[in-house]
């Protein structure tokens, strides 16, 4: 069974629509760990690891470092949205596979 229509549309949008970040980066973040992992700049990886594994530990310092590194607030939002959506989709697909579906 395919993914719900609105979920598929949300995925299509974040993977294709123009934003402040490159769509290639958003795809790499959303699909991590995946083939495009090398597209993710080293400086973003600590924040992405926290969002994936223990989002409750993300701190103001994590953001301050990235703003100093040159990321805009808009870019950071897109990075976070892709990471959050990626973690959710990973679980949706794993759940469907357990049901015997091929998402």
């Amino acid at each position: 069974m395919p993914l719900p229509d609105y979920l598929q549309k949300a995925l299509d949008a974040i993977l294709t629509q123009p934003g402040e970040t490159d769509a290639v980066l958003r795809r790499a973040i959303l699909e991590q760990p995946g083939a495009g992992a090398e597209q993710i700049p080293e400086v973003l990886r600590p924040l992405l690891k926290k969002i994936a594994e223990r989002a409750w530990t993300v701190s103001d310092e994590d953001f301050a470092q990235l703003l100093v590194a040159g990321y805009s607030e808009g870019q950071l939002f897109e990075v976070i949205l892709a990471a959050a959506l990626g973690a959710g989709v990973q679980r949706f697909k794993a759940g469907l596979r357990a049901l015997g579906e091929n998402p």
Partner: protein, 197 residues
């Protein structure tokens, strides 16, 4: 909110919506700000997913779906989502007793075996998605959970696994108790349609 840009309205419609919400709800919930800011990058579609997954399921009541939501939020230690979804059960189920019992220990909470079977599946899916498998689905089926019901529970897991990360990464402001109750009452009555701007 850690990113101030996300709080700023970006259209006339958002300005009107924000003004309305400040008047009637006391504040603008973080999920609405995030979905609005990310509208063109999937936010407008994602907002519809919340209404679909948390209000339009066929196998579970709104109260049971909110228990799933609070349960996944608790596993992800997201205070914002735990408070929000627990508060909604006050109106969807008549009290927060059941959700509090589930959050304390779902294994001993006074709930149906069907609900417990779904929670067992959701716990593993949330914490160890790489290890969930057919045996886990079979265990849920044995507890009386149909495939459609399990699919609907999985959808909630997706929604809350996504929102807890947005809430904690962006640092959604936890509303005061009065605002929390007001928001919960509105969500229980009207659902999640308000996220769609």
């Amino acid at each position: 909110m850690r990113l101030k840009e996300v709080e700023r309205p970006h259209s006339l419609l958002q300005k009107v919506r924000n003004s309305f919400m400040r008047t009637f709800m006391g504040d603008i919930p973080g999920p609405i700000l995030a979905m609005s800011y990310g509208r063109d990058l999937g936010g407008k579609h994602l907002a519809r997913c919340y209404q679909e997954g948390l209000r339009q399921a066929r196998e579970w009541s709104a109260g049971e779906l909110e228990i799933f939501a609070a349960f996944v939020a608790n596993l992800n230690r997201c205070q914002y989502c735990i408070a929000s979804h627990s508060a909604i059960t006050q109106y969807a189920l008549g009290s927060t007793e059941r959700v509090q019992a589930v959050l304390a220990d779902w294994r001993t909470a006074p709930i149906s075996s069907r609900l417990r079977g779904a929670l067992q599946f959701l716990e593993k899916l949330t914490l160890k998605p790489g290890e969930i498998g057919c045996d886990d689905a079979d265990a849920a089926r044995a507890a009386g959970v149909s495939d459609l019901a399990l699919r609907e529970a999985i959808y909630v897991c997706f929604l809350i696994s996504t929102m807890t990360r947005l809430a904690d990464a962006l640092d959604f402001a936890l509303p005061d108790p009065q605002t929390l109750q007001r928001g919960a009452r509105i969500l229980a009555r009207f659902g999640y349609c308000g996220m769609r701007v």
